[in-house]
């Protein structure tokens, strides 16, 4: 179903409709989101923008859509520099955006949603007949069939997305931005969407398609720009480059990975999941037919593009969700209906991905965060009362041991930097000497030294005999720590690979992107 008609030639000779000229963006807190980004998009083409999470895709689109201003450089439209962060910039220049999370009001009708913000008026009243006619005309012109009178929130997701696209097209739009539009759709719906998008291009609309799914990019777009760490890592016409080259651009130069010696696992597995499925409102959390075992002392790494089911998997083994089908057992005990408290009692510890909401309470002190959940621990408690002295001593020891940098242990948790928060959480979770450790993005966004420290502690836990489930988007980390790698895609396990020397990010890529399935 690949469509590689080259429309670039049709646009040849014209100034590119959108061009980024040395765009930089540094946020007030010092985060550098974009560094000297320059590239151009010819008119009437579908252009893909690829990159990992945090590569700068969204920031760049926010700048083009006028939500934020760049701190350096210009955006050029039809060759003319424009200042984007001005009122109604996108509307005036015919730029429409379909957000990943819909910007529709569920209780309003389709017509009301589409005209919202630029309603046709009759005196002071909204001209409903004209509005309806306008929506019908739009819908017919672009072949996007919707019922103008339907209540938006009652429509299926794919139909809501059509409404969102029509809304984006409703103001003489020339450039349409789609941010991860396929995340919420099923494969036939994706096909349908792509056909509509090709029609739109034939109607003269330039489309910017943001995605990290390479197969989709290849089937839809004509050219691609890859962003990595806020910079342009490469650009190509898709007809000219093979998949693995794009993958290398997305993931960066292959790095030398120091693996740990894969361990010989012996004895019975600690965690056994078989045929497990999970139903969820969010399609990104759904799981189908998961088989997974982890032995004591073994680190199993889970690789996958964000939203491939990792969150669902973690929620099952932390007691946050119950499986819809299949069985989960831990150390021979059935854990299908186990609560979080039960999992904890069995020796589960969890380094969650969201440190400030799942891993601690920002408004409480380091001391309080460090002893949270140690109910009944005689060292910290005498009857119902907390033993202030003993607790301070123990927490000071943890802070020292994990080299958490803080003014004092009486400070609030949110006075610490991300890396130090994570070290404190690790100190708390590992203090119990867990038998089963779940490390979910354990080093995301923290500095190299802190990351190395966390890695050491995870390895030490495994040495002690803990079963470790490592979920990470950082392939370097994955290959550094894991004994075995499990790849997830679309809520299923697509590959189980021993972590041997020939296992590289390039080898993992096709599984992660759903291009290949293990037989």
């Amino acid at each position: 179903m690949t469509d590689r008609r080259d429309d670039g030639e049709r646009a040849a000779g014209q100034a590119p409709v959108v061009a980024f000229d040395h765009i930089s963006k540094t946020y007030a807190n010092g985060t550098i989101a974009l560094r000297d980004v320059s590239f151009a998009i010819p008119a009437r083409t579908i252009h893909a923008i690829c990159g990992e999470n945090g590569a700068g895709k969204s920031t760049l689109m926010k700048i083009l859509f006028g939500l934020e201003g760049p701190t350096g450089g210009h955006v050029l439209l039809d060759g003319q520099p424009v200042s984007t962060a001005t009122r109604d910039f996108a509307g005036r220049h015919g730029i429409g955006m379909v957000h990943q999370h819909f910007s529709l009001i569920p209780t309003l009708s389709v017509t009301e949603n589409i005209i919202l913000g630029h309603e046709p008026k009759k005196g002071v009243l909204i001209d409903r007949a004209a509005a309806r006619a306008k929506v019908e005309a739009l819908s017919q012109r672009y072949g996007l069939a919707v019922d103008p009178d339907a209540i938006t929130g009652r429509l299926p997701v794919a139909a809501q997305q059509k409404v969102e696209i029509l809304k984006a097209l409703s103001r003489d739009t020339r450039v349409l931005i789609l941010d991860e539009p396929t995340a919420v759709l099923s494969p036939p719906e994706i096909n349908e969407l792509f056909n509509r998008l090709r029609d739109l291009r034939d109607h003269g609309i330039t489309i910017l398609f943001i995605s990290h799914k390479l197969n989709e990019v290849r089937s839809l777009a004509e050219s691609v720009t890859v962003l990595r760490a806020g910079q342009v890592a490469g650009a190509a016409r898709l007809a000219d480059v093979p998949d693995n080259m794009i993958m290398q651009m997305v993931m960066g130069r292959p790095v030398e990975i120091t693996r740990r010696e894969p361990r010989q696992v012996t004895g019975a597995p600690l965690l056994v999941m078989s045929g497990v499925s999970l139903a969820s409102r969010d399609p990104a959390d759904r799981l189908r037919d998961i088989d997974l075992v982890i032995h004591p002392g073994e680190i199993v790494g889970v690789a996958g593009v964000d939203g491939s089911g990792q969150r669902g998997l973690v929620s099952l083994v932390t007691g946050a969700a119950r499986p819809g089908a299949g069985s989960i057992s831990f150390d021979g005990e059935d854990m299908g209906a186990a609560s979080t408290a039960r999992w904890r009692a069995c020796g589960m510890a969890h380094l969650p991905s969201d440190r400030f909401t799942q891993g601690g309470v920002p408004a409480l002190t380091l001391i309080e965060n460090a002893i949270a959940g140690t109910d009944g621990d005689r060292r910290f408690q005498r009857g119902p009362f907390l033993r202030g002295g003993a607790i301070s001593e123990a927490v000071a020891g943890m802070v020292e041991d994990y080299s958490v940098r803080a003014l004092s242990i009486g400070e609030r948790l949110d006075s610490l930097s991300g890396g130090n928060v994570q070290k404190l959480i690790a100190a708390r979770e590992l203090a119990t000497e867990p038998r089963f450790l779940i490390a979910d993005q354990p080093t995301r966004g923290i500095d190299v030294a802190a990351a190395a420290f966390i890695h050491k502690r995870i390895l030490a836990a495994a040495e002690r005999g803990a079963a470790v489930l490592l979920v990470t988007a950082d392939l370097d980390e994955l290959l550094r720590l894991s004994d075995r790698v499990v790849v997830m895609f679309g809520g299923q396990i697509t590959a189980v690979l021993p972590n041997e020397a020939q296992l590289t990010p390039e080898r993992l890529g096709p599984f992660m992107l759903g291009l290949e399935d293990m037989p």
Binding site: T318, T340, T357, Q358, V361, P362, Q381
Partner: protein, 355 residues
């Protein structure tokens, strides 16, 4: 000196400055038309401190609102904005009166029995909205607000048909028997032994929240509900515990108010003590230890207002105006989270750390 303590002083100083400024800003326009504007302000600010009796009045005003402030603190700490404490006070007063009138005398323990009865019955007002929230996710703010009035009218019905003294001129209960009344502490005031209970309750509440495991768990559930579930804490049970305790304290407030101050139960409207309790809880930053000074401060304003009304003829409603303006000012993030203030606090901490 402790850095956190010093940094806390900055906030305290700002709070006091803001309160002073607000009082003057409201009071000066009332004082100016007066012959001697200075005496107006002096009467308001110094009157309550002028004699032991007036200080007693301050404490008398502070007693019920310290209870309700504590009740609001406990309830809010669980993360629920449960307004049931208002009708909890009413219900507690009514139930205590009922116990005093209808149960036999227990000698010196009669007030205790009546207060416990009032507390238990009063807690219903917080338990019901809490349960509705936990079971069906009904917003507790709405259900408790509506329930307040349902309880009021059910209570008035009960008063009219079961407790009403037909010999009294208006709708009120029979006289509360003398052995059910609380001891007066200070001649010339209505200050009673309930004030001591209030002080002890606030201190106990502070110890609970900050020095016990269950208090820590309550704060974790209230301030980090997602974290609490990741820890595997029994969140529902902890939240319900807080509703029960908060409701009982509110009921106690009503019981002690009625048994300590009034000859008969005569509330036919919500007494408003619960609402004041919410003000206290916010003023005290939901810290039971600060509830006592906050309640005394509002009591002080009230007595100052009485002076204005009695000696100068300025309506005592001015106090309500001042309280409202103070609430606006002390909850203003623009003042307390101002970058300049935060910078100052950070600098103090860093200077201390450098030493």
């Amino acid at each position: 000196m402790n850095r956190a303590f010093l940094a806390g002083l900055v906030r305290l100083a700002i709070t006091l400055a803001v309160i002073g400024a607000v009082i003057l800003a409201v009071l000066v326009p009332f004082a100016l038309p007066h012959e001697h504007p200075g005496t107006v302000i002096a009467a308001f600010l110094l009157g309550p401190l002028s004699s032991l009796r007036h200080l007693g009045n301050v404490a008398e005003y502070a007693t019920p609102i310290a209870f309700t402030g504590l009740a609001a603190t406990v309830v809010f700490r669980s993360g629920l904005f449960n307004l049931g404490i208002e009708s909890g006070v009413f219900l507690g007063g009514l139930a205590a009166t009922t116990a005093a009138l209808l149960l036999p005398s227990f000698g010196p323990f009669t007030p205790l029995v009546a207060i416990v009865f009032g507390a238990v019955v009063g807690s219903i007002s917080c338990i019901v909205p809490g349960e509705l929230r936990l079971r069906w996710e009904a917003p507790e703010m709405v259900t408790s607000l509506v329930l307040n009035f349902a309880i009021l009218y059910a209570g008035v019905f009960f008063l009219n048909y079961y407790l009403r003294d037909p010999a009294a001129g208006s709708l009120m209960s029979y006289r509360i028997p003398a052995d059910a009344k609380l001891d007066r502490l200070l001649a010339g005031t209505r200050l009673n032994s309930g004030a001591i209970v209030a002080l002890v309750a606030c201190l106990a509440g502070g110890v609970w929240l900050y020095f016990t495991r269950s208090g820590l768990n309550l704060r974790i559930v209230g301030q980090g509900p997602v974290f609490a579930s990741h820890l595997g804490l029994p969140s529902r049970r902890i939240i319900m515990q807080a509703q029960i305790v908060g409701g009982m304290i509110a009921g106690m407030a009503g019981a002690i108010q009625v048994l300590g101050l009034y000859p008969r139960f005569s509330w036919t409207q919500l007494p408003g003590l619960g609402w004041t309790g919410i003000i206290i809880a916010i003023l005290a930053r939901e810290n039971p230890f600060y509830v006592v000074p906050a309640a005394l401060f509002l009591g002080y304003l009230q007595v100052g207002g009485d002076f204005l009304a009695r000696d100068i003829g300025i309506p005592s409603e001015v106090v309500g105006l001042i309280t409202a303006a103070i609430m606006l000012a002390v909850t203003a993030t623009a003042i307390f989270q101002h970058p300049a203030v935060l910078r100052l606090i950070r600098r103090i901490r860093q200077v201390e750390a450098a030493r």
